[in-house]
């Protein structure tokens, strides 16, 4: 499976278009088969658990993106056939944002799922 040098340009991308250009990828399309998991409201913007997973076969790379971070791409994972296409990590989020899981398939298709995560100031309660 793919193992190259550090994708510096991808980590500097400010938008999905810049990211796909930096990596030479096709235009991503939304897919209900790509799931991104995370809290609805982050308990701590500095440590937000995110997961990306799919039931589709033939995923070679999975990326986690935070739309409103200074740079969108937080992490990318290259899978061999010896792992499930499911991975979790924890990321920083400065403000409420959509987060994306983007899967690069063996056949060149690029699919994504997304969800909203709220980062709040906190306080109050019943």
């Amino acid at each position: 499976f793919a193992q190259g040098g550090y994708a510096k340009a991808a980590f500097e991308a400010k938008s999905m278009a810049e990211l796909t250009k930096a990596l030479g990828l096709a235009t991503p399309t939304e897919s209900k088969d790509i799931t991104v998991t995370g809290p609805d409201i982050a308990e701590n913007g500095a440590v937000v658990p995110l997961g990306a997973a799919t039931t589709l076969p033939g995923v070679k790379r999975m990326m986690l993106l935070v739309e409103k971070n200074p740079n969108m791409l937080a992490a990318l994972f290259d899978f061999s056939d010896a792992v499930d296409p499911a991975v979790s990590t924890r990321v920083k989020m400065g403000q409420s944002s959509d987060v994306f899981a983007v899967a690069v398939m063996n056949d060149g298709r690029v699919l994504y799922g997304h969800k909203e995560i709220k980062v709040t100031l906190g306080g109050c309660g019943g």
Partner: protein, 555 residues
């Protein structure tokens, strides 16, 4: 129906309202959010409890006559007084105080006698809300709950004593007596369960599972440093696993003891399969008629049992052929004058209070007006707090958190230190003064407003709007975040985003606030009471509402 017993003696009244005929073979008694109120108090239900989006006009977002109509309760009755704010002062004087653990103990014993095997479930917010609970680190409530015979509990404000204190109580005081359950609390490192997620109990030969659901947003709504090594969240996938696991082990009845808040419970009930009932708390809604929610697995009952010891929920199931065939539910008000106090519990309460009695009963002032807290935007008690903060802290604007606990005082009542502490007793009640830009003030108000009015309940936190002194504004709950708070003014002048304002507040969640040398808010209040021994009636500063005409959550 209780009205005719109002002037009769306690024994007769008990026979009237509290003589609830037995039904079925599996019963749960549910109390929640007592906020450490061991003695009877007054508690005024809200006149503003707005629902937006899919929640508009639906339980629990009904107030006053709208609620009575839905519950089929006649106005002017004792039940109408218990469930609503209507004619509050007059009805409160007529029907007397509510709650009290000695009265509750009598009621629990009575119901357990007619319902063998019934379990007493406590939804949490039990160890916080009074001076004595704060001064004893929750120990008074731990002792009282053990004597009351609580079988199972979950939590929220419990966590504000810190994770070590919670573990100490669960592992030592509660061992072999009370099970503390929470399927949604995990360690922050590898996500291991912190508490037992559920328990299996046999009731009259029927295997039953009770699953605990702690308040999902504890580290956001309260200081995160109190529970630094734990994470929370709603976790409905994990809940589904627990339900399936319990059913797999033979459970014929599955109930979730939840501290989600009612809107979150309603959404959760629509997503998770195999739950017979969610007995909920946190939003302090006194819900006389449970909501039956459809989901892919069947139907789930959702209830919420009010606050401050005012109610006891009684859920009876008839279990036949391995499943729930029928049910009955009653939200019983605890009228203190109509239940003979339990002698053993009275003695315990007296013993717990004795070392603090002198401090508790010290008179601070007398109020000429009704002092209450609950309501989406403000109450007279928080108005008093805002007025005191602005005056004593020399601030232009004051914020008071949208807490839903806090007892009610009638006109003419003496404000003792104990009654003041009912409004402010938390482990982080620091009084702050912050220089805030107009832009920041707007950001804060919008943030809290979204926690209350986000159309998706999973993005709500179940508190009320931050109470605001000095500043006036308009609020459009139906707008999106960033557009709800409008027309902010100070002394009639528009708030300037670039200008700095002096804002007083209390109960900050940041860890830095702990060591910043702030005064405590009760000291600020006591300073103010010295200058105002006679408290004139407070008019709550509430926003002008936009788009809420006709909403039955508004009286």
């Amino acid at each position: 129906p209780l009205g005719r017993y109002a002037h009769a003696d306690a024994a007769t009244a008990e026979k009237g309202l509290y003589d609830l005929p037995r039904f079925g073979n599996v019963s749960f008694l549910h109390m929640t959010d007592c906020h450490a109120q061991l003695l009877p108090i007054h508690f005024r239900e809200p006149s503003v409890n707005l629902g937006v989006g899919a929640m508009a006009g639906r339980t629990p977002h009904l107030v006053g006559e709208h609620l009575l109509r839905q519950a089929g309760v006649r106005p002017g009755t004792a039940l109408a007084h218990a469930y609503t704010f209507l004619d509050f002062e007059k009805a409160a004087r007529r029907y007397g105080k509510v709650g009290g653990f000695a009265q509750l103990a009598t009621l629990v014993k009575r119901l357990k006698a007619t319902r063998p095997g019934a379990l007493l479930l406590d939804g949490g917010d039990t160890w916080q809300g009074s001076a004595v609970s704060l001064w004893t680190n929750g120990q008074d409530m731990v002792e009282a709950c053990k004597l009351l015979g609580v079988d199972i509990m979950t939590g929220h404000w419990e966590f504000t004593y810190g994770q070590e204190r919670v573990q100490e109580i669960v592992k030592n005081d509660f061992a072999g007596k009370i099970e503390f359950l929470a399927q949604n609390v995990k360690t922050a490192d590898f996500g291991d369960p912190v508490f037992k997620p559920y328990t299996l109990r046999e009731i009259n030969g029927v295997p039953c599972a009770i699953i605990g659901q702690a308040f999902p947003y504890t580290p956001i709504a309260n200081p995160r440093y109190m529970v630094a090594d734990w994470t929370f969240g709603i976790q409905d996938d994990n809940l589904q696993q627990m339900v399936d696991e319990a059913r797999g082990k033979g459970a014929q009845v599955v109930v979730v003891l939840s501290h989600n808040g009612m809107d979150v419970d309603l959404k959760m009930a629509s997503r998770v399969r195999g739950v017979d009932a969610i007995l909920g708390g946190h939003t302090h809604d006194g819900v006389p008629v449970p909501v039956l929610v459809d989901n892919p697995g069947g139907k789930t009952l959702v209830t919420n049992a009010g606050s401050n010891g005012k109610f006891l929920g009684v859920l009876d199931f008839e279990v036949k052929n391995g499943k729930v065939a029928d049910w009955r539910y009653k939200l019983l008000p605890v009228f203190a004058n109509q239940l003979t106090p339990d002698a053993e519990m009275s003695a315990l309460i007296q013993r717990l209070r004795a070392p603090h009695q002198a401090k508790l009963s010290e008179k601070l002032a007398v109020t000429d007006g009704l002092l209450y807290r609950r309501g989406n935007f403000n109450g007279t008690w928080d108005q008093l707090i805002c007025d005191a903060l602005m005056e004593v802290q020399d601030a232009q604007i004051a914020f008071s958190p949208g807490f839903r606990w806090g007892s009610t005082l009638l006109p003419g009542d003496t404000i003792t230190r104990e009654l003041m502490m009912d409004q402010v007793a938390t482990t982080y009640s620091y009084a702050t003064v912050t220089e805030m830009s107009g832009e920041m003030i707007k950001t804060v108000l919008e943030d809290v407003c979204d926690n209350l009015f986000n159309p998706d309940p999973y993005y709500q936190q179940g508190g009320d709007m931050v109470r605001v002194g000095g500043l006036t504004y308009a609020c459009a709950p139906l707008e999106s975040m960033g557009r709800r708070v409008q027309d902010m003014r100070l002394n009639g002048q528009p708030i300037d985003p670039g200008k700095t304002y002096r804002v007083a507040g209390w109960a900050p969640v940041s860890e830095e606030a702990k060591s910043a040398g702030h005064k405590m808010v009760w000291d600020v209040l006591e300073t103010w009471f010295k200058a105002h021994p006679r408290v004139t009636p407070r008019k709550p500063n509430v926003p002008r509402l936009i788009g809420m005409q006709g909403n039955p959550g508004l009286a």
